[in-house]
């Protein structure tokens, strides 16, 4: 099974708090690929806002992004640059 994954550090000032999580999920939903976000041993669907928020990701956490599908590379690129923004 082909898929792309990458490990990134969350640099968003507030971490993935509610508003940022909503934007993140909105971005994830632009892609057709199945995308997952993993923190420690917990893996959730990146298109699910509740799932993302349940991880309570703080700034400085290292997370793994996993994508599988036609636009997997674009998805990984777009999402990792989103969580690495320092705003």
């Amino acid at each position: 099974m082909k898929m792309v994954e990458t490990t990134v550090e969350v640099k968003l000032k507030t971490g993935l708090q509610a508003r940022q999580a909503a934007l993140f999920v909105q971005e994830a939903n632009r892609y057709k690929a199945d995308i997952f976000l993993q923190k420690d041993d917990k893996k959730v669907n990146a298109k699910s806002i509740m799932g993302i928020m349940s991880l309570a990701i703080a700034r400085g956490t290292t997370v793994k992004l996993i994508a599988e599908g036609n636009d997997e590379n674009e998805a990984i690129e777009g999402l990792s640059s989103f969580i690495q923004k320092e705003v």
Binding site: N45, S48, M50
Partner: protein
Amino acid sequence: MAQVTTKDVMEKFKLTLVSGHEGIGRHITTSDISRPGLEMAGYFTHYPANRVQLIGRTELSFFEMLPPELRQERMMKLCSQETPAIIISRNMDVPQELIDASNENNVPVLVTSMKTTRFSSRLTNYLESKLAPSTAIHGVLVDVYGIGVLIIGKSGVGKSETALELIKKGHRLVADDCVEIRQEAEDILIGSPPPLLEHLLEIRGIGIINIMTLFGASAVRPYKRITLIVELETWDPNKTYDRLGLDEEKMKIIDTEITKLTIPVRPGRNVSVIIEVAAMNYRLKRIGINPALEFSRRLDEVIAMHDEIDEY
């Protein structure tokens, strides 16, 4: 994989740490418990070193009958590199040889006031639930007429909206969007929400709502066994959907196979009613009434009868 350390057990059962303090962070990897009676007698060939060792009155009184040099040797063997903990029941005094051996090999020795058998069963229960394999699934878990129905499907297909409709009809929400599933025993999957998301549901256009405050305590459940999976998908004219209900499709979660129905979503199809009926129909099948099978049998009979008439 979930992990339990000796420290977790100590805190959970309020045990007293006697010696081997440095090994308190050791991992317990199995829910099996060993009572090292034969080991005390010198038989270490099949010593299950990676289990928690539980010493009761029988083992300890036997140990006290041994000559001093044997005591020291056997306690050293008991405190192996892998042993996560040695627990002594009934608040009995820990033999000096065990204290020395445990301090040397950093195996924590703990004492409980409980009786051996009682402690053993409580520890087994605790370890089994803590070490149960678990996973998280993107979906919504609802209790419909007492059947735990897991609704899955692509993002935006209407899982949460369907759940909301079911709640309005008097059914109960367990978890929205992210369901944590543990296989607590063979063929038993228990779903619960991540602690942060308890009672919450997200509806596009409204946002996050609290089901408990909106609909009351009867509209929520903290956990539920999953017995039926319903997959929602946008109606695909090129796909064939089950028209008879004679065959059951299965989906595997961890090591358990669960019956799965695929329900196409299309404007005008009331999905919540379909799920209610699917749950009731599933219950009916478990009771032993299978309308699809009965109908098919009746049809076979009628066809066979026609065949006989034709022969004359």
